[in-house]
Symmetry: C2
Subunit: 355 residues, 2 copies
DNA sequence: AAGGAAAATAAAAACGTTTTTATTTTGACA
DNA sequence: TGTCAAAATAAAAACGTTTTTATTTTCCTT
């Protein structure tokens, strides 16, 4: 009677022991054969592999994990700002995760995501991951000018790849966008178009790349022999709200900007929203150049000039680098800085009205 | 000499054995005490807890995992369409992950993310997770009208919570948005505003919620006693490109729509982009009502009327439900359908020109 | 054909838990 | 004060691997 109650009991997954029974070899030999150890005879290795295939053997991750002390997890810290309620934010992270996951595909590693709300949270997450061995490697972004996570991880010899670079030491694996270059190029383009009062909508200075962008902005002016419009630099979180508010504030100053250089999509959307509600037209009253990583600027009305870098590519590189780091490769060999490509969608000279 | 080479060796993390040595109890007693088993005397339990606190004992997840057969992972399937190159897509997923992670905070569970590229990929990922015991529970979305994942998981008694519902069987834990209601409400609002030719920009029919929205759309017309503009229903992926192309196509028909009901942010952006490039003005030539989950419609120019549901809340509920499911709670008790709130930003009657 | 090194395989221990079973201690009752 | 059940603790086994150490087999050399 009771036998009818439950379905046919699922056969327990085959283990190394099952293979030992089937083939007649000891579990030690099985283990070595499966890991292609040279000490086991090729003929028995083949035999064991065949048996493994036949019964559909899959190494038990938990057993491996306990024995080796590894977790087979690649952790990613994903920032989510709790600042404004549910504001559009961090949208590019799906692309990063997608890229990392692509790199991990086919390896023994899984991707675990740790959501962090701020820098402190991020540092805590990192040390928890190290202390408790929650992962074998770590990927994170939002690098501060002097980031405690990097010190911690270097100290513990914990494999990691950062998206972005600290400003001081570079002896670790990283992937980055050339923010100095991009900010310089955008500013130079606007200067060439005749703009003099250029606003820079920038992240907070504690972020390493905010400083890089400031540098590029300044260099463009310096090279043009023009005094930088340093009073038109605004700094804040990367929210849409911030972009909008920045425009509203900046257009009230005595000598308002005729052009804007923006950080990311969401801020750009806010800037356009602010311009729209003040009745200013892009390409007529002001020009806007943005940095784009999810290919969305093409759909703004009007489409605007952007520096574009598909972020999934960065994610993939991050994953590839992390795999190599976890295998002990020298971090010095694992660095890549991407230059976004310029996509010209506007002349960015206010239709010639400036010349 | 060599002693100088490496830093002071980090003390190995304390284990249950360490605690046994310190307290003099056996490891069995330690284990039971830490899990608050009633068989161990309260006084020794306290003693053991105290010792654990003092040495900073943290249970080794790998040991627990091997012994219990659990993985302490909550898996989330994250869809990323590879359709168009790096198109803005799936941006709401950071919010979902954030919500799930919030729910998991403070528990023993970690969140692992599995990126899937299509429905087949999703089904494979699900069965891999079940077969290999990669996780103890699963969260996924993009539910098909008849989703193989649901059958698989129910069959294996594997704990899961779906975001969205199959159209046939509902005997499982799920969280959803009331798409029928939202589509109905949007359509009814436009009908009340005097619109008769209303376009529905919808996902592909294989998705369960696409059908729900079709139902709501039809019901609004039926209730108004007006023949539905069924020829103005377009179906496709949820990309910005699709939104834009839909508008361009639809405005070429003999009797073009005067209003659009959109699915999500990215499609809406595409719709607005299409309208802009054809020189049509929202609120003058056409009205647009959208569904918004990342609070971005407020920043479109002009701001448009939306049905808003903060998606992080859904994520949190998904996580909470999954925890309960993993503890064996009856799935029938774990269902929640959210109704988004209407945010009126336009009169949606073409400024009265229709009446 | 004996000896011995090299090659191949087996046995045993270990990773850190939980759980089942066994043993000791306590305390109530006669 | 001895008996016995109940309470408390200890011992041992197990989860599935990898790795170290031990044993057996092969085969070359003389």
């Amino acid at each position: 009677m009771a036998a009818h109650m439950h379905k046919t009991r699922r056969a327990p997954a085959p283990t190394i022991k099952t293979l030992a029974e089937i083939t007649g070899y000891s579990i030690a030999t099985i283990s070595k054969a499966l890991r292609e150890s040279p000490v086991v005879a090729p003929v028995t290795r083949d035999l064991i592999f065949k048996a493994a295939r036949e019964v559909g053997y899959q190494a038990n991750a938990r057993g491996m994990a306990l024995r080796t002390g590894k977790s087979f997890q690649a952790a990613v810290l994903m920032p989510v700002t709790a600042a404004r309620d549910y504001e559009w934010d961090g949208v590019e992270y799906t692309q990063i995760l997608s890229g990392v996951s692509q790199a991990l595909d086919g390896t023994d590693y899984r991707m675990s995501v740790h959501v962090i709300r701020d820098a402190v949270d991020g540092a805590e997450a990192a040390s928890r991951i190290v202390d408790q061995g929650l992962a074998d490697g770590l990927i994170f972004s939002g690098i501060l000018a002097d980031d405690p996570r990097i010190d911690l991880l270097v100290d513990h010899h914990f494999p990691f790849v950062s998206m972005g670079r600290c400003r001081k030491d570079l002896d670790y694996a990283h992937v980055d966008i050339d923010n100095e270059w991009a900010a310089h190029a955008a500013t130079a383009r606007l200067l060439a178009g005749g703009h003099r009062r250029i606003a820079l909508v920038n992240p907070e200075r504690r972020f390493s790349y905010a400083m890089d962008r400031l540098d590029g902005f300044a260099r463009a002016f310096r090279e043009a022999g023009i005094a930088a419009s340093a009073d038109l630099i605004v700094e804040g979180d990367l929210s849409t709200h911030f972009g909008r508010q920045s425009v509203i504030d900046l257009l009230q100053v005595a000598e308002p900007p005729t052009a804007f250089v923006c950080i990311n999509e969401s801020t750009t959307l806010g800037v356009l929203s602010g311009l729209g509600s003040l009745g200013r037209q892009v390409g007529v009253d002001v020009d806007v150049i943005a940095y784009d990583d999810i290919n969305v600027s093409a759909y703004f009305t009007p489409p605007i000039t952007t520096f574009y870098q598909p972020i999934e590519v960065l994610g993939r590189t991050l994953g590839q680098f992390l795999l190599k780091r976890m295998e002990g490769e020298d971090p010095k060999a694992l660095r890549q800085v991407f230059r976004p490509t310029l996509i010209e969608r506007q002349p960015d000279n206010l239709g010639g009205r400036l010349a």
